[in-house]
């Protein structure tokens, strides 16, 4: 605060008193007026001197001090102002004084009004601290707008030249929008005053297109001078400047075709004279923000990526619509996997992956520039299509004598740019083209030259080419060829160690040294090498014909690697000590020749011929050395083939020959043969021709100087099967207790394995019974005989029953299984002695019994009655008995009143018919049995003798007697 002392040099004089017109006589009012009057008198005394000295500065060089003039002093009143600043200075002036900035410290200032009202001098102590620094309001030099980017550009001068030393300045800028001056931006901006007038710039991008509403800008400043100790204050605001778009008559939507980052906010407005009804982005309606006039805006927040044709924003009015397209996307990603290589050392191809899609297409798509820093050359890439994830590529022409390239790939779109760099020695990044025009040329039957075309300028580097050699039915072979690169792109390589007359397939690929990448394989080139003479004679064997007069010579076709060409014919000759006999040429498909020879020793030689020449002769002796000690052995396949072994024979000098044939074939039998070195003692015979269940004969021959000797003869199967037929058998002899059976051998073709035995089953049985169907079920009544002696051809079956039918079954078996069965029914003969005995004994017994019975019956007829009692049962029998009893007593039957048949129950009372009682000797027996009688039969008799038998016999006898008596009774 300013410390001001006021000295009154003369007593205060009462000025003109105000005349108070009292309208009221109230006492309190008078007192109040009096009090006010006294206070006014005191103040008016003060007011008669200059007071309230205030000093401000706007440039730190001049202090502008002013004071309040004493009351009564009119305009134009003069003052004498004196102050000390090293020296005493007085100035005569009217109102305020502009002092040069005083040195730090207190300074006394006296202000003496130079007028007639009195002699009041004011004294002030002035210090820099009491001075306010208030800069002048800045002046906006220029306010411009870039409507396309909605950017305001502000330009002003800091007028730094008026300030004595460097100071910091804070500028405050405000942006107001619309006619009602809504503050939309208040920002501070720091600069430094450097003693010179400097024009400053400030730019601001509006969130709303500048066309949408009028924008105002004002600026003020605050100088923060550290050396100034006084009070610092903001300047006044500069006069506002505004930016507005002068619309034409047409309605327009802003911004137009704006590209912006995905996720950002944007305000779109419609400048129109018509009432906007709705606004939509895409298909989404947005609330309207009303601006000046009928202009409206919409705010879009966090915008998502646009489709390829952009995002449409449409404002609809009564009968029209207006719109704009917004393109929301991303700035280009850093090009990824940038790789530069060359195919031919003439052109560099750089490929890269664009990375994240930008969602901007067409004219807003990312453009790429490939810049090479050493040469300063560049190439541009512009892709109009929607970018995909596929690699992009650019071709850069190589420069002479430049091997190192420093590439920078710059990607740019309206939202930004990015780049990727690559330093590459291009001679180390050669990826050759695919070799073309592969040609093959003969050198010999085992060597060729291979030529190909490899486009490129490889004169300064080495090439490594790989040749793949493929042979039919053989693994492929790779040969590497290193060669110096040449300018004319034609390359040549020789390939040796090939086989004559062989179809080869060649293909080539190349790389450079140092290795970067192989080229693709060239197309395959097939080539047949030329023929050479056959390297070996054919594998030969001979057989004597069945009549022993002709020698049949067999040979095998030469394998392709030994034939060395197409075999056209064979020459066969036989030579003995005396003569040499040649047959005419035998054309190729024929591999056998027959020569009529005597039993002398001959050497047969066979020569194969192709277009180039003849093979070395293949020789074989005609003589066969006999071997008396020969056994036929058996062999079955073990593992892959039939294993044949033999003992080492030092006499065998050449080799062993194993020949084999199907045993069922006629002589000379030969399927194939195999030669084994003389030091071998075993071999495995394998052949695709072998079939299971077929018997093969194997013959092992040892080769000696003078001929072949059969060492072993073996029969074998690759797999044994069960016989397909049952042995035929017949019954040779039959007796009452035995059968002699004889059977035949099964033919080899049907046996299908080595016979291991027979199974013979027999049992009692008639034809057409099915008992034998379950022969193997282990039934005890079936008897089985296993005949393991395969030489046995008969079998006697003993202990049979005479005149009995027997079911016989025979089947053979091998290791391969059981063959089918053959069955027969045989009835044994009758035993005659036994038959006679069987007849005579019962007859004799019957006679004896008859005689004895007759005698006994005659002697004691009561027995008969008792026996009959025992034999009869039931009422019928009893009736008969009654009659018999009557008959026996010689009494007539008791008569009843009714008609009575002989079979009806007699209705005679017991007491009246004592004959109805059992005889005394039977009474105990009868009594014992009565309890067991059925109801209604009480008092009757139960007889153990069967009715049928007794009835037949007794009734016959009894009836005869009864009827004869009845007849006699009736007659009497």
């Amino acid at each position: 605060m300013m410390d001001i002392s006021l000295c009154l040099k003369r007593p205060s004089r009462m000025g003109d008193s105000k005349r108070m017109r009292m309208t009221s006589n109230f006492q309190w009012l008078l007192l109040t007026v009096l009090l006010l009057y006294l206070m006014n008198q005191v103040n008016s005394q003060k007011k008669r001197t200059p007071r309230d000295l205030k000093c401000i500065t706007n440039n730190l060089q001049v202090w502008d001090c002013s004071w309040r003039a004493p009351s009564g002093a009119g305009h134009g009143a003069a003052y004498e102002v004196c102050f000390e600043n090293g020296s005493h200075s007085c100035y005569r002036l009217e109102k305020n004084i502009k002092l040069p900035a005083l040195l730090p410290g207190d300074h006394e200032i006296t202000i003496n009004p130079l007028h007639d009202f009195g002699n009041f001098i004011s004294k002030f102590t002035l210090n820099e601290k009491n001075v306010s620094l208030i800069p002048d309001a800045p002046e906006i030099l220029d306010l411009s707008a870039d409507f396309s980017t909605s950017t305001l550009h502000l330009k002003w001068n800091d007028k730094g030249s008026v300030f004595p030393h460097h100071s910091n300045v804070i500028w405050e800028i405000k942006v107001l929008r619309k006619k009602n001056m809504e503050i939309v931006k208040l920002v501070t901006h720091n600069t430094t005053l450097n003693g010179r007038d400097t024009v400053h710039h400030w730019s601001w991008i509006s969130d709303m297109p500048l066309e949408c509403a009028t924008h105002y800008v004002g600026i003020r400043c605050y100088i923060d001078d550290p050396q100034f100790s006084g009070r610092k204050e903001w300047s006044d605001w500069s006069p506002l400047k505004n930016i507005s778009w002068s619309p034409d008559s047409q309605t327009k939507v802003f911004p137009q075709d704006r590209v912006l980052l995905v996720g950002s906010d944007i305000t779109v407005c419609c400048v129109t004279q018509e009432k906007v009804l709705s606004a939509q982005i895409g298909s989404t309606y947005c609330p309207l923000i009303h601006l000046d006039g009928k202009n409206v805006a919409i705010k879009i927040r966090n915008i998502s990526a646009s489709e390829s044709s952009g995002t449409n924003v449409v404002f609809s009015v009564e009968d029209n619509m207006f719109g704009t397209v917004i393109f929301a996307g991303y700035p280009p990603d850093i090009p990824q996997k940038l790789n530069c290589e060359t195919y031919d050392l003439k052109e560099i191809i750089c490929t890269w992956n664009p990375g994240r899609p930008t969602f901007l297409v067409g004219p807003r798509n990312t453009s790429y520039t490939l810049f090479e820093s050493f040469s300063g050359k560049y190439v541009r890439f512009k892709r109009v299509e929607l970018p995909t994830n596929e690699s992009y590529q650019l071709f850069f022409q190589m420069l002479p004598n430049q091997e190192i390239y420093n590439f920078t790939l710059n990607a740019r779109n309206p939202l930004g740019q990015s780049e990727s760099t690559l330093l590459v020695n291009i001679t180390e990044k050669v990826h050759p083209h695919i070799p073309t025009s592969v040609k093959v040329k003969d050198i010999s039957s085992t060597a060729v030259t291979l030529s190909w075309h490899l486009p490129g300028s490889f004169a300064k580097i080495k090439l490594l080419c790989q040749i793949e050699i493929n042979k039919t039915n053989s693994i492929h072979e790779l040969r590497n060829v290193t060669m110096r690169g040449i300018e004319n792109s034609s390359y040549l390589a020789a390939l040796d160690k090939l086989n004559p007359y062989t179809i080869y397939t060649f293909r080539i690929r190349c790389c450079t040294d140092p290795f970067w990448k192989w080229s693709k394989w060239s197309n395959e080139k097939q080539y047949l090498t030329t023929e050479a003479i056959p390297s070996k004679g054919p594998d030969t064997w001979r057989e004597w014909s069945s009549d022993g007069k002709n020698l049949i010579i067999y040979w095998k076709p030469l394998p392709i690697n030994e034939a060395n060409g197409k075999i056209l014919s064979y020459n066969v000759s036989c030579s003995s000590d005396e003569e040499t006999q040649s047959l005419s040429e035998i054309p190729d498909p024929q591999h056998k020749a027959e020569i009529q020879l005597d039993k002398n020793d001959y050497i047969i030689s066979v020569v194969a011929k192709n277009s180039v020449g003849s093979s070395p002769p293949s020789k074989i002796a005609s003589m066969e050395i006999p071997n008396d000690d020969l056994k036929i052995e058996q062999a079955v396949r073990m593992g892959n083939g039939i294993l044949l072994t033999w003992n080492y024979d030092p006499n065998v000098t050449c080799d062993y020959v194993i020949k084999w044939c199907n045993s069922s074939r006629s002589e000379p039998c030969l399927m194939d043969w195999k030669k084994v070195p003389s030091n071998s003692t075993e071999t495995i015979i394998e052949s695709d021709q072998f079939r299971p269940g077929v018997r093969y004969n194997f013959f092992v021959y040892g080769c000696r100087n003078q001929g072949y000797q059969l060492l072993r003869s073996i029969i074998g199967y690759v797999e044994e099967l069960a016989p397909v037929v049952a042995p035929n058998f017949t019954v040779e002899d039959t007796s009452a207790d035995s059968i002699l059976v004889k059977w035949e051998e099964i033919p080899v073709e049907e046996l299908r394995g080595f016979l291991r035995g027979y199974l013979f089953y027999f049992e009692k049985g008639e034809r057409d019974t099915s008992k034998m169907r379950v022969l193997e079920s282990g039934r005890s009544d079936i008897k089985v005989k296993n005949i393991t002696d395969i030489s046995q051809k008969t079998l006697r079956i003993a202990d049979l029953q005479g005149k009995t039918s027997y079911h016989l079954v025979l089947r053979a078996y091998t290791d391969g299984g059981m063959g089918p069965e053959k069955s027969m029914f045989v009835v044994t003969k009758e035993n005659s002695v036994g038959l006679i005995i069987a007849i005579l004994i019962p007859v004799a017994v019957a006679v004896i019994v008859g005689v004895v019975t007759s005698i006994l019956c005659y002697r004691k007829r009561e027995w008969e009655v008792i026996r009959l009692w025992k034999s009869l049962q039931g009422w019928k029998d009893r009736a008969v008995l009654v009659e018999l009893a009557c008959l026996g007593r010689g009494r007539s039957l008791p008569r009843s009143s009714g008609r009575r048949s002989c079979c009806s129950r007699p209705d005679v009372p017991k007491e009246l018919d004592p004959w109805f009682q059992a005889p005394p000797s039977l009474q105990p027996y009868i009594q014992r049995e009565e309890g067991a009688l059925p109801p209604g039969c009480q008092g009757g008799l139960w007889l153990a003798w069967p009715v049928s038998r007794v009835h037949r016999w007794s009734s016959r006898v009894a009836q005869q007697k009864f009827y004869s008596r009845a007849t006699s009774t009736s007659t009497t």
Binding site: S283, N312, G323, E385
Partner: protein, 225 residues
């Protein structure tokens, strides 16, 4: 194969049918010039085919333009599309047109529309869209040639383009993307209307040329021009 009596009758009937239709076989019917009838029919068929093709193309293209252009009830004002030939015409005016005028208007319209379509093709951002547009342009070129053929058959001269009236495609900053989309929309719409109108025109012409008596009359008319 065994032929029964019924088969023989069938074959005879078939033979008779073939003989009956033999005069209708064009290669055998060499009685005279077939006249413009076939080419009118061909043009009519091509128009119907293009209508079908445009339905597919418009669906794809409007989806490419994005909403609201692909919304069914979207009906923007015809702002910048004033240079497009209008297909809509007053019914009385259309009835009063003679054949030559009809064909001339068709020919001129499709010449302009084809030119605009080619511009559209250049602007399209996706390869698939460009292929579709190129295919349609080829078809439209065929229709244009077909109309020219009909006109030639009827003895009408082809309209000569006036110098300076060649339609131009004016993309660039002066033409905003939104207005461009509006134009594209209207181009497709006008094309659709023109094809519809052409189908009517050629159908009318076809009916006029159909009866043989009419062909003679037409011949005389042609001489009259």
């Amino acid at each position: 194969m065994d032929l029964r009596a019924g088969d023989s009758w069938g074959m005879l009937a078939c033979l008779c049918a073939v003989l009956w239709h033999l005069p209708a076989v064009p290669a055998l019917n060499r009685t005279g010039d077939p006249g413009p009838g076939p080419s009118i029919q061909k043009t009519y068929d091509l128009t119907r085919y293009l209508e079908h093709q445009l339905r597919s193309l418009a669906g794809t293209y409007l989806n490419y333009l994005g909403p609201p252009f692909n919304e069914p009830d979207f009906n923007p004002p015809r702002l910048g599309a004033e240079t497009l030939p209008r297909a809509t015409v007053n019914l009385e005016v259309w009835r009063s047109l003679n054949d030559r005028l009809r064909l001339t208007q068709n020919y001129e319209a499709y010449s302009h529309l084809l030119c605009y379509l080619r511009g559209l093709n250049r602007q399209a951002a996706t390869a698939e869209l460009r292929r579709s547009l190129a295919h349609f342009c080829t078809s439209l070129q065929g229709l244009l040639g077909s109309i020219a053929g009909v006109m030639a058959a009827l003895g009408y001269p082809l309209p000569q383009p006036l110098p300076g009236t060649e339609p131009t495609w004016t993309p660039g900053p002066a033409h905003s993307d939104f207005l461009q989309k509006m134009d594209d929309f209207w181009l497709l719409k006008e094309l659709q209307t023109w094809l519809w109108r052409s189908a009517k025109d050629f159908n009318r012409l076809k009916k006029k040329m159909q009866p043989p008596a009419a062909a003679v009359t037409l011949h005389l008319e042609a001489h009259g021009f």
